[in-house]
Symmetry: C2
Subunit: 474 residues, 2 copies
């Protein structure tokens, strides 16, 4: 990738011996400089080549993280937080080497308060683990990025997924955090109260900061009652615009749809081949409804009426779990179904989000661009939020194809920003979208971000080289 | 009040002549040093005595605000943003004098995007004005603090109100802001995309910052479809715990109640007298349900079943607007009904918020404290959020009574913080709760807030003396 040249040029200092000795003394075998351990922590699910940290620490407590960060500060060693390694834009790559703190062994569910619909977890707890822990209380946690990511990582990247249209993202569902700041202090960013007007919103300052302002070690989250009834529906549309307009009207009518996912013709083709289905090769919407028995029936009926007005066909409605699973398998298999069309190739995933009134236009222009590129692709979208992804298949050996994919991504992002949208709906900035962030926010807002970064991390040790480039404070 | 002594000791510099001359040249009669104008801008709805700015500017655009703030920076003059003057904790009082920028003439609804359910307004637009502007699109904006406050002020104080249990607060409903920072730059904090993972969350950094980090000049907000059907219900309970437990179970069952308000016996007595009603003198809950015809029926029925299990009596249910109004008049008149019990006296309003599992305990302890104080009082609450207020009546001439009210407030806040709650659910910190903010967050988190304040406002010109006390950066 183009960025690689630049990244490799970054100056990288060796780990100070006194620093390594201090960590080894404090943490024993939980501090490692083994090549295999470093290699495991030097890549994520982005298309970047690995960039290894110089050492890895497996932390067991907030206090341990604070002790390690203080040492990093004393020795000016970069420090990167690591959860499950499933970030998509190079967030955890050790551009300048340094220490990676792996939080996956901080995996305790610290408290569940069913009456308050909250849970507090250590940062390494994954979303599926949390859901298992709260299921017996009749509760669930809705945020579902594709991977079974750690909740600390999800908070750090402001993740979301298919349920966000109804339940919001990590932004709306994180009540408070425990954070270790660059100077090794431990702070609590809020309380368990559902709302508060008390001072600066530190919680939201750290949510989405990708480890560049501090390391999230504990997260308090909102939970929701498991719906009494769940139903799903699928239908096909003559055009992308018809599908998107169905979603716009559904939301404008106030139908509290829990999920609504879009799949383009290529995606449908791929899953037909992969799962031996015979869905019409047309733009597809998949809905999920949560509520009372009566409520989900009513929702499905309304959506069917709206969809019919937009030429929908093949409306299938399912309330039984096994039927829902069959319908949703279409969505869940899309990524792998597409990958199987070109064995050995790699998928590059894009991510942008626009106001929903511009979504059809944005998808259609992107689709035309994808067609012109000649690359295999599929477009999937969390359309209720105006968020969509293009999955592009590239032969990793074909540098020109990788460049073409990057160019296509750049045009798509530029288009989205021009439509009052954002360069990333849910994947984050990481290494990959720093220039787009400037394009989206403009220099004055980036300067404000830079002022905050300089103030909270004056030595630039916290995940350096991510989100914004280090420059003198404005 | 006790705080007054301290406030009056604050050093106050006279307005530099060159500064005043520059503003007069730029803005003509929209820049005023008239006593009456200053007096109008020197008080809010808190119990504080007035503290007047040295001058007032009526701004008409973001660029004008930026020009004025740049001058304030050059001359080190404090600058305070003013909307409708309805803040409750002394937010807009000119502790150190300086310039108040009145934004009430920035009252244009700049854009309504009905398909995206968003509107962009100038900071001086009030919530009622916005609701009028979007009504014909079949939309509404739900956040309703008591006053018809400006949306800039509501964003700056992270306001909420009775609808927050369903629709969230200004935190959840502000998509992006235009802000003038302390150095006079104009920044856009986000985009109109419904979700974004792009960089630091500047929007939420400024929401709730009470003008201490920058001046909000434009706000982009989420709108909602007007519900197809609305119904209301009222019922009485044998005890506070029964009322609160009804709410807990309602929310745990996933009933999407739009509003649920609590009124104690004293409140009921006052409104019975004021509105010639004969409601049972018992803890009362008022509900409002939004949804489809069928949906609101179902919600009301479920709530009635839950309430019945907790000994509720007198369940009344109303779907016609006039009947709803009659039921809700109880809630809306509570403040004035109580005030009428002691003509000439003043109401002091407290505000705290706890996890709902602790709410009954917190209200009961506070009620006992109120009883012991001998002061007339009433407790009302946005109980679905765990947020409640005590209205205390004091004779303003009776300094000892004012002190007693302050002590009671302090005990109530300390209790709430000890229950993992917050010192303010929706009124903010202002001048009044700075010590409680420290108590709630702890020194390390306050230091982090202070670092942010110093970085973004190094001269301490933005609404100085609010939220956190000015001290050297940690």
């Amino acid at each position: 990738m183009n960025q690689m040249t630049q990244l490799q040029a970054t100056e990288k200092k060796p780990l100070p011996a006194a620093f390594a000795a201090a960590l080894a003394t404090l943490f024993g075998t939980r501090f490692s400089v083994a090549q295999a351990v470093r290699a495991h922590h030097g890549r994520d699910e982005s298309a970047y080549d690995p960039m290894l940290p110089d050492a890895v620490l497996f932390a067991h407590s907030t206090e341990e993280v604070a002790a390690a960060v203080r040492l990093c500060g004393q020795h000016q060693v970069p420090v990167i937080a690591y959860g499950t390694g499933t970030s998509l834009e190079g967030h955890i790559l050790a551009v300048q080497g340094g220490l990676t703190i792996d939080l996956s062994q901080m995996a305790a569910v610290l408290a569940v308060h069913p009456e308050d619909l909250t849970a507090t977890v250590q940062a390494g707890v994954t979303r599926k683990q949390l859901n298992l822990a709260v299921k017996d209380f009749g509760l669930f946690f809705p945020i579902d990025p594709g991977a079974d990511a750690s909740l600390g990582g999800m908070a750090a990247t402001r993740a979301s997924g298919t349920n966000a249209v109804r339940y919001g993202t990590m932004r709306e569902n994180t009540l408070m955090l425990t954070v270790v700041t660059a100077d090794g202090r431990i702070i609590k960013t809020g309380t368990r109260a559902k709302k508060s007007a008390a001072g600066y919103d530190l919680t939201h300052l750290f949510v989405g900061s990708e480890g560049t302002l501090g390391i999230i070690t504990e997260v308090t989250l909102r939970l929701y009652p498991l719906p009494e009834a769940i139903s799903a529906a699928v239908c096909s549309f003559p055009s992308v615009a018809d599908a998107v307009n169905t979603v716009i009207e559904t939301i404008q009518m106030g139908v509290p749809v829990a999920r609504v996912e879009f799949l383009d013709e290529n995606g449908v083709k791929a899953i037909n081949a992969h799962s031996k289905l015979d869905l019409p090769v047309k733009p597809l919407l998949l809905f999920e409804f949560h509520g009372s028995e009566q409520g989900v029936q009513e929702q499905a009926q309304r959506v069917q009426e709206i969809a019919a007005e937009h030429g929908a066909s093949g409306f299938e409605w399912a309330t039984r779990p096994e039927d829902r699973t069959r319908l949703w398998s279409a969505r869940h298999n899309a990524y792998f179904a597409l990958l199987q069309m070109r064995p050995g190739w790699r998928a590059i995933t894009t991510d942008c989000c626009v106001p929903i009134s511009r979504l059809a236009e944005c998808i259609l222009a992107t689709q035309a661009d994808c067609e012109a590129s000649g690359m295999p692709y599929s477009i999937i979208g969390h359309v209720g939020d105006g968020n969509f992804h293009v999955l592009l298949l590239v032969d990793p050996a074909d540098a020109a194809a990788v460049d073409r994919a990057e160019s296509l991504n750049a045009r798509m992002v530029t288009l989205a920003i021009g439509m009052d949208g954002t360069c990333t709906g849910e994947h984050g900035i990481g290494l990959h979208k720093m220039d787009f962030l400037v394009q989206e926010h403009g220099a004055p807002a980036i300067d404000t971000m830079r002022i905050v970064k300089h103030a909270l991390d004056p030595q630039n040790i916290m995940n350096p080289g991510k989100i914004i480039r280090w420059q003198p404070a404005p």
